[in-house]
Assembly symmetry: C2
Homo-oligomer: 173 residues x 2
């Protein structure tokens, strides 16, 4: 049975994220306020693969969790921008490679227990070099062979949920 939402109050708001306390009632009758983090814009990731080069990945340190790992290019959409356009733009900005035609691999919710964010996943077969990687975004940018990416998925070297789901889904096609 579903939880009933009676209302909510905003604790914080900004263009990046908001925080609310939502007044919910459970099927058992228990009623309480539940924290929800709201992201006004979704994010989008691209698995760029090329029969010769492999898969395009970034090596990136995340200060929030003090962890460095391989990731797929990704970022949030701008207001009014489509997820597909954001996926192309972020890939080009972060890696210097503009991905070829994109195909959707669906979307998912990274933390639906407490966060309303949606992540969109795209795949592109190939990319064209259009510039240099953004030094603010990545330690380095590399094409890695598909077999090596499968190993990275198994041995725990890829540690963010968006890259994990995007790569598993792309390799599961």
């Amino acid at each position: 049975m579903r939880w009933t939402v009676h209302g909510e109050r905003t604790l914080y708001d900004s263009e990046w994220l908001g925080l609310a306390l939502v007044d919910v009632e459970l099927p058992s009758g228990e009623r309480f306020e539940h924290h929800v983090v709201r992201f006004p814009e979704p994010a989008a990731a691209t698995v760029v693969r090329d029969p010769e080069r492999g898969i395009l990945l970034l090596r990136r340190h995340r200060f929030t969790v003090d962890s460095e790992a391989w990731e797929v290019p990704a970022g949030r959409t701008e207001p009014g921008e489509s997820p597909e356009h954001a996926a192309i733009r972020e890939t080009a900005e972060e890696t210097g490679w503009r991905p070829g035609p994109l195909r959707s691999l669906g979307s998912f919710h990274p933390m639906p227990g407490a966060v309303d964010q949606t992540f969109h996943i795209f795949v592109a077969d190939g990319a064209a070099r259009v510039g240099e990687p953004d030094e603010d975004e990545a330690e380095r940018v590399e094409w890695l062979p598909v077999d090596e990416v499968r190993t990275l998925l198994r041995d725990g070297s890829i540690t963010d949920g968006l890259s994990l789901v995007a790569l598993y889904r792309a390799l599961d096609e």
Copy 2:
């Protein structure tokens, strides 16, 4: 190159989550305040599989994203509790099945761009019936055949990041 963290200020705090503005400086010299959502406790999920029954899943509606989907049993750890103990406790509470010996399938960060949360994944081969499912947690609880779970992963019927990563990893062993 890494971002430099100069300090932070707390915007909100609670036993469930906190919100901070972190003063960061990029390699290019750009400096700004970045929102970070802090979760004081990690969460843990269990992929429970049985050669006869299949994989144990819950059908659950998430009001945060107004979406109903299949999920693996999961929940946050209590203060001082190990992720493994939380995985066993949450599975028993949510499904009425107590999982057999657990094995770690690693951990990951669901949203390291803005959230410091860690999700731990375990797998158990088998479970013992110990009670009834919690009516507040799930519409229904079912064992689904592994082939059907593979189909659910492909067709977009599993929509939360923790279930996706846990199931892909368990089926990729």
